[in-house]
Amino acid sequence: MSEKKTQGIQKATLKKVFGYIKNYRILMLLSIIMAAATVICSLYVPILIGRAIDLIIDKGNVDFEGLSVLLPQIAVVALAVAIIQWLMNTVNNRITYHIVRDIRDEAFRKIEILPLSYVDSHPAGGIVNRVIADADQFADGLLMGFTQLFTGVVTILGTLLFMLTINWKIALVVVVLTPLSLFIAKFIAGRTYKMFRLQSETRGEQTAFIDEMIGNQKVVQAFSHEAEALEKFDEINDRLADCSLQATFYSSITNPATRFVNSMVYAGVAAAGAVACIATAGTVNPFTVGQLSCFLSYANQYTKPFNEISGVVTELQNALACASRLFELIEEQPQIPDAENAAVLENVKGSVSLENVDFSYTLERELIKDLSLNVKPGQRIAIVGPTGCGKTTIINLLMRFYDVNSGAVKVEGEDIRNVTRNSLRSSYGMVLQETWLKSGTVRDNITMGKPDATDEEVIAAAKASHAHSFIKRLPDGYNTVIGEDGGSLSQGQKQLLCIARVMLCLPPMLILDEATSSIDTRTELKIQEAFARMMKGRTSFIVAHRLSTIREADVILVMKDGHIIEQGRHEELLELDGFYAKLYNSQFAV
């Protein structure tokens, strides 16, 4: 990306960031004022201490009266600094955390209305990262960056001002020498950047290798591949050690180097200051030892904000990058909202029709072409085909997870794009192959579709889906908390819970995905039985794996590579002697 373009994006991002800060502008203003006050007060303290030192000149030459005024003054100023600083920190925290909260809420609300095409094509981990890590980085980096930048600049300007008013010549020594440390820091950073990149690349390579080998340790052992793996690992490991040493060492020179510049400034101030003391001794406006000590303490502090600012700039850029990723998510095109006059589907009997439907996930690869299908209430539609042939596509269209490209899907004669999503989706009961449960109690999961269900209803639904007996045996029965995605439940148990979930509300239409190889046949029988009970009298779409289901279906859709290639009843399709016939016969082939 060209630098100009990057800058353009950064500018746009910055603008949006200000949009979020706007809600907190009073706090922000307060924070800036307090930052300025803290800095100026804390710069004033060395001056006061310098004055106090000037009152302590020699044996018998100490101005206790003056000290008795000055010392309490120092105490008051220090106390003021402390209080304002604490308030400022608290206000900053508030701004930061509230903005992160706001952004996260907004991002999450967006997730709930994103089109499924977006979620399907972006790994969940990446999106989670944006909502969590990027939001944190953004807040920390940007807001802390701003305050650090601000206090840094005020400190530099304030110090400069104080120094110039006391003695401009010595101030000049500081001003001229200090930028040196910036140059050195930048020089080293430039040199180490490459090494750091090499380090992180090699580290990535090593992590990938570890991931692969340790993650599949069992296969590695099964093939006695340990020695080869170790050899390869050592090769990467040695390379990593080399570049890691260089990166670590060269980057760790920065601190001593800037400290060195600092000590040069210090020596310069000491020399110039001491000479000035002698030169102006006895004049009307002498440069005193107290002022020298004040200068020395400034010289010590003055380089610090410079070093910090160079760090802050990278942090700010990083934060902006995080922010722009976050905004990308927030500004992502949402799904087409329900039409304003969208009807609410009521009294669904279960007639569904697909009329000349064209659909594809990407423009390049057309999938469904001119599919028409008429389903009468109570009919069973079996979708069959080899794994990965796109059986779920049909489900996506029926539930309106995706919209058709052309043609229409109709329920009760009504185009589903003209009814509310809620009413459409609650007309279907869906049990997918990927059993998904939310973390919470067993009961929470069953009552997902009907939160106000009574205990009796829940138990009845569980009994009907053969889930009751295993739920009873869980430590806390229906109140057992299950972890994210089902936690310790077996695949079969999860499936039974998903069925119970649908059993409780029993909508007029069903979408079912038959059990997979990961469930043993006896559990499968139970699931079968539960399915059969549900399907009675309901329009059902079944992704079928079992012959019995297929045979009893009113219509079989045979899919291959995303296309529906055959359509009809079992006998008709056998007679056709096409793909279906081959698929069917192979089950019994020897």
Binding site: I132, T248, G388, G449, E524
Partner: protein, 571 residues
């Protein structure tokens, strides 16, 4: 952590020189205020410009020598830390590889990966920081105090009071915050988990129209997080203001004490300035020390986790037999298997024999112990009772490499590795020729796939991501076939294949010329019905052994399984 630190032994020189040079630098830094005091008392007071020039030159020299010391220290620390990490990682990787299946099960691979990567990085940077700073900061703090004592005893007492007060504040706030940060993390985890759930479960959530409830739940968890973050923020925000007050009060006290003692002629003005400068140095170092300690605590925790991996010893002991002979390729003699931490046996009293060239089908419900049974043959798990024999020799008496070399296994999960198809195939036999590979591919019904990808040089991505599930499965079968094993184990390895391919595969396996003993684990009776022998498992016990027809007669569970899959035929 202690045992881990033994790895620093190879870097003894570096680990001593690093901190040592750091301390040299710190001593030099402590001398700076004394030089300034001399400038004020001897240079300014007496108007001696030559003396001032000399002293300031001394400051420059101190700066240069300090820089040299410090860079030397950084080099040694970096070298020790990096070398340490390299050595530990090497041994850790080797160690993890030597663990047996049961240890891997207990630990979990994702844990092991974390130990090797992020934990290791944390330890490396922790060691680097420790070598650089752990001695330096206390050295400066106490050095300043000692320096103060050499200047003036009474004033130094102020240091003796200020240092504990500052320490109480710095470490007190730190200790208060650490458990709170844990709480923050817990609440953050809750926000993470609901976010992830809403992405992975998006279809279900939308199907049940739960979007608004989820938003409300998210917002309340988010608010909880924000609340505790603000609370911790308010506490940790106390650190700077409180230390600032303490240090300034100490300075005021110092100036006052100084004033009294200058008045009586015990101290000079320059000394007071020197004491003031020393006091200023303390604060910075204490805060650095506090941050360092947080960092070290984290590193030690990581180090302990790594060490606990080292402490797990492999339960496998190598035998010394290379070969054996006997009528049976595989024999189970009343063998039982019990997994670590499990209450009951996974397998009980397995007793059967398999001749060379025989095909054995193993069937049963989920959790009935099918995979466990075949995993005992290559000694992935050892028998708790009884014994398992291969070629008439107890598997424990073989060297592990020799034993596993006889066995080709196709695991349930089809895993391929980054590299070409050829490299993946050569896992089975390092020097396999293309002809051998192609013949294995052909048997595994994978030749067409390899051809369509452009041959053996096709690069497979990590985890085989650029292949479909069925393609991966065929390649894993071929990989096991390349070495022409005496015993071939297919652990439910045809689940992603369609019926036609599955049938073709079985046919090809039967016609292999080196006639290995074949174990087929499956849930489908269609996959094993033609086996010479079928073993039916239920809840870890053998409930039937025989041919398909025999079992249909005698074994109820087999009948049940079969009829559930072929309902119509059974009726």
């Amino acid at each position: 952590m202690k045992k881990l630190l033994a790895y620093l032994k190879s870097y003894t020189k570096e680990s001593i020189l690093g901190p040592l040079f750091k301390c040299f630098e710190a001593v030099l830094e402590l001398f700076v205020p004394l030089v300034i005091a001399a400038v004020i008392d001897n240079g300014v007071a007496l108007g001696d410009k030559g003396y001032i020039a000399k002293m300031c030159l001394l400051l420059v020299v101190i700066g240069i020598v300090g820089l040299a010391f410090s860079i030397t220290a950084q080099y040694f620390s970096a070298k020790a830390a990096v070398g340490f990490a390299r050595d530990v990682k090497h041994d850790l990787f080797k160690h993890i590889q030597s663990l047996s299946y049961s240890e891997i099960d207990t630990l979990g691979t994702s844990t092991l990966i974390t130990r090797m990567t992020s934990d290791m990085n944390q330890v490396q940077s922790g060691i680097n920081l420790t070598l650089r700073l752990l001695l330096r900061s206390p050295f400066v703090v106490f050095g300043a105090m000692i320096m103060a004592f050499t200047l003036d005893f009474d004033s130094a007492l102020i240091f003796a009071a200020a240092i504990p007060a500052l320490s109480v504040v710095v470490f007190g706030i730190m200790l208060w915050c650490i458990p709170l940060y844990k709480k923050v993390q817990q609440r953050l985890d809750k926000v993470v988990s609901i976010t992830r759930e809403n992405l992975t479960g998006i279809r279900v959530i939308r199907a049940f129209c739960k979007e608004n409830e989820e938003i409300a739940e998210f917002e309340s968890r988010n608010e909880e997080l924000t609340k505790i973050q603000k609370f911790v923020g308010r506490i940790s925000a106390l650190m700077n203001p409180l230390t600032y007050i303490i240090i300034n009060l100490a300075i005021i006290w110092l100036v006052y004490t100084g004033a009294v003692r200058v008045e009586t002629g015990i101290l000079t003005q320059g000394t007071v300035v020197a004491l003031y400068n020393l006091m200023s140095q303390i604060l910075v170092e204490l805060i650095k020390l506090a941050n360092l300690i947080i960092n070290i605590t984290k590193s030690v925790a990581c180090g302990n986790r790594i060490q606990s991996v080292f402490e797990i010893k492999s339960s496998l002991e190598n035998g010394n037999s290379e070969n054996g002979s006997g009528e049976y390729a595989v024999e189970f003699r009343h063998a039982s298997l019990k997994y670590a931490n499990a209450g009951a046996n996974a397998l009980t009293d397995m007793n059967f024999t398999v001749k060379k060239g025989e095909t054995v089908g193993i069937i049963g419900g989920t959790g009935s112990g099918k995979s466990s049974l075949v995993n005992m043959i290559p000694r992935f798990y050892d028998a708790a009772e009884g014994e398992v024999l291969v070629n008439g020799v107890n598997v424990k008496d073989f060297t592990i490499d020799d034993l596993r070399d006889k066995i080709g296994i196709v695991p349930q999960k089809a895993v391929l590795f980054k590299g070409t198809i050829r490299e993946n195939m050569q896992w089975g036999k390092t020097d396999a020729t293309d002809i051998e590979i192609f013949s294995a591919l052909e048997t595994a019904q994978a030749k067409a796939v390899a051809d369509s990808k452009g041959g053996l040089d096709f690069m497979i991505e990590q985890g085989g991501k650029n292949l479909s599930g069925g393609q991966r499965q065929r390649f894993t079968i071929a990989r096991a076939l390349v070495k022409k094993p005496e015993i071939l184990i297919l652990d439910d390895s045809a689940s992603a294949l369609d019926f036609a391919t599955d049938a073709a595969l079985r046919k090809a396996l039967r016609s292999m010329d080196y006639s290995p003993a074949v174990f087929i684990v499956s849930q489908r009776t269609s996959s094993i019905r033609h086996a010479d022998k079928i073993i039916v498992l239920d809840d870890g016990e053998i409930v039937g052994i025989g041919t398909h027809d025999e079992l249909l007669e005698s074994c109820d569970i087999y009948k049940e399984i079969h009829s559930s899959q072929f309902k119509k035929e059974a009726v």
